[in-house]
């Protein structure tokens, strides 16, 4: 491909492309119908023209204006809003005002969330922002409520955490569905949450809540037996069992390894759970523990060649790859490992015909050995292989 021609063509397309400024000016034209004004504005361009900004502010404030027009105006000057404390206040007041339509308040809240990523001025308004969110967690609109609670939960807001726990203990006080409440408590999981999460597992209000509670008990040592029981229960929902496997792996890798090996080879088990077990063993078990169990490796190799389950076959394949094994599969595979080039061939010292890409098994194993050494030394990063260049002024 001619790079010069490629760039020339690209630039030409860029310059002849749609003119966002023109479309926004047409949007501001009140003589046009709502649909005409909104046409072609699925994404808003940002205006910094002062007249356009002023006109947009008027639109935002105008309660008689169509809601979608007001929303589009907010988006159309979102950068300007992010640079102005007064305009951020305007948006905050819209969000707080329950006499304004939800179809306006929600997008306004999203634009504020967007500004949290990009606006330095927004940071000075953060306390007011959080106050506004707290003021709407009892809002009539469920989606707005949940939006506010989600942001506050991620802020680790203690008031919201209390309210969520209250709702789990007494459903009549629930602000949001229990599975969502559990999920949001997970942003800042505390030991004091674990008893209620265990209750949610034993007496779940619904399956989604149980699954979420199982997930979050991954750091609770007192839940280990419960998680192991769920994993062993062939009558349990398979997604809940998979979640318990993953939680148990996090809590007690050795316990997980023992059970995972049994499950992986148990033909009466679900293929999904067997594949999950192999995936965990293959990626995250210590090399020593698994490398001495050659009979298990042989069984996995046989499993890989015989199973009709694509997921189980792939999990077995990846397990063998990670263990540095050579694949002898008869099926075309995605991560096929072949006889690697020997050192002379890799060094280009003799003519070769390269048939397939060389594997990265050596790199993978060296990486894991390096990690083990680092863990022993307590060194988070290996030394840099090249001498650093360049200086710094500050």
């Amino acid at each position: 491909m001619d790079v010069e021609e490629y760039l020339k063509q690209y630039k030409k397309e860029l310059e002849s492309g749609d003119d966002e400024r023109t479309r926004y000016r047409e949007f501001l034209n009140k003589s046009r119908s709502v649909s005409e004004r909104l046409e072609g504005l699925e994404s808003s361009a940002n205006s910094s023209d002062q007249d356009e900004v002023s006109e947009s502010i008027n639109i935002i404030r105008d309660r008689d204006e169509d809601v979608q027009i007001r929303v589009t105006a907010i988006r159309g000057i979102s950068n300007e809003i992010g640079e102005s404390p007064e305009l951020i206040d305007l948006l905050l007041s819209l969000v707080r005002d329950n006499t304004e339509p939800v179809a306006l308040r929600e997008p306004a809240l999203r634009v504020l969330q967007q500004l949290s990523f990009s606006s330095v001025v927004f940071r000075t308004k953060r306390p007011e922002y959080l106050d506004v969110l707290r003021s709407i967690i009892d809002d009539q609109d469920a989606e707005l409520r949940q939006q506010a609670i989600g942001v506050l939960a991620k802020e680790k807001d203690e008031y919201v955490q209390r309210r969520l726990l209250e709702g789990l203990e007494d459903p009549s006080k629930a602000l949001i569905p229990p599975e969502k409440a559990i999920q949001m408590l997970g942003f800042d999981i505390h030991a004091e949450h674990y008893p209620i999460l265990r209750d949610m597992v034993k007496s779940p209000p619904n399956p989604a809540a149980k699954k979420e509670a199982v997930r979050l008990l991954a750091a609770d040592a007192a839940s280990k037996n419960m998680l192991a029981e769920i994993l062993s229960d062939k009558g349990e929902d398979k997604e809940v069992r998979r979640t318990s496997a993953i939680a148990l792996e996090s809590l007690d890798p050795a316990e997980f390894e023992d059970r995972a090996k049994q499950i992986a080879l148990d033909e009466d088990e679900s293929d999904d759970l067997r594949a999950t077990s192999l995936s965990g063993l293959g990626h995250f078990s210590s090399l020593e523990a698994v490398s001495i169990d050659s009979s298990f490796d042989e069984s996995v190799a046989q499993l890989r060649d015989k199973t009709a389950s694509e997921d189980l076959r792939r999990a077995a394949e990846m397990y063998m790859n990670r263990r540095g094994g050579r694949l002898q599969s008869t099926q075309p595979e995605e991560l096929k490992s072949v006889q690697p080039l020997d050192e002379n061939q890799m060094m280009g010292t003799e003519p070769v015909t390269v048939q397939e890409p060389s594997p990265n098994i050596l790199a993978v194993i060296m990486g894991r050995v390096r990690k083990i050494i680092e863990a022993i030394k307590g060194n988070p990063k290996p030394p840099t292989p090249k001498t650093p260049a360049g200086g710094s002024s500050v």
Binding site: M1, V3, L7, L14, E20, E42, S43, S44, A45, N46, V71, R75, S78, G82, A103, P107, R110, Q113, Q114, L115, S116, F117, S118, S119, V120, R123, Q146, G150, V151, K154, E179, Q183, I189, E212, E239, E249, S250, P253, D272, R274, A275, T276, S279, D311, A315, M318, E334, M346, G348, T349, P357, S358, N360, A363, P380, K381, K386, T387, G390, S393
Partner: protein
Amino acid sequence: MRTEINLNGSANATERYISWSPSPAQVRLADAEGATDPVQVRLKNQNPGQGGQVLFFAARAGAGQNELQLSLPANGSPVDFFVAGQFPRASTADGDASIEVVVEGAGTTLSVTPLMVRIRKNANLLTPAERDHFVSAFATLNDRGMGQFRDFRDMHRNVADDEEHGRAGFLPWHRSYLLDLERELQRIDPSVALHYWRFDQAAPQIFSKDFLGVPDTNGTLTFNPANPLQFWATDLTPGIVRQALFNTNTQPANDGTASGRVINEQATLRLGGTNKTYRLFSRMEGQPHGTAHVSFDESSYISDIDTAPKDPLFFLLHCNVDRLWAKWQRVFRRFDPTSARTYNFLGSAGSPGATRIGHNLKDTMWPWNQITTNPRPNTAPGGNFPGSLITAAPGATPAVLNMIDYQGVLNPSSRLGFDYDDVPFQF
């Protein structure tokens, strides 16, 4: 008779990774078999029809060629040349590109050197093998929440907001952050590059159980049982919460409301205005970058600065942000760090016209500078910037400056070792 090729300063296979930007190379006669006169050789792609393809340069200038004729001294002295990936023909697997050295005229093969044209790609278009390598490396780096990924999670917290967002240094800081992560992924699997989520297009392959997951009814991601990302954990908790507000199979990122879609690539590149300035272009931090983040609901990790890196999609989102910057630089030739159009704060903190520390061209960037005194955050996770086997840049304590000429267009030693599938190199 045989030849030996060095790439990136070494004969080791571990350094045989190139991008679109020319990499230094050498070829020499390793065994002249008694020859005393120079041997005329031709370097070429062994398999022009498949795999990554290479261009050859006798000197670091001009257009590369499909073949290169060189005269090799019989005494084994090396001859310098340069190689680069042939845009847009990237590798899809490690070693699928090969440099063949043949005797000029006779055509006898003297050596074949496999290498990889390793490129950051549109993640929605990866082969299954590329995807699986990427996912596996990422899961290994995370290691159930106990791996080195913790440093990357901790680098992007609210406490570091002033270092990373809302000011000019937003793009260079994140370029550095992504490159740090990519190098750590490459320590695990050198065939891996950090790919991008093209958020202004539908990306159904990314949002799949084989790749970055599909939410259950509660927004917690589910994966295929063979996908190691099912074991992903951060902050002692397994799992990822991500619920898109748009149809991930058919739509680009948007929040489901009127005018809530991310602006497309062309509109983004036009943000620089008539004079194509960085000051105006960097408004892309709001739209499309911020819009992409909040195209996911309030419970999603990615919709909040502090929790965003808990979701691997965050890195693909930012890789696209970086690609857009790279493309803008390429199209408008913004590599000269002495030009205010390339970057609008040219000095260092405290100098006339400077902005906050960390955002001026000559400022080093936290956390790699390991400075934890006010106004920097009081911790600096992750240590110095990691080195690379293929380039010495950007050094252990990169400055904003070191992120500008990432292809080494003006200064070869600035080459950072990555490129995008749709952003070529040009002198």
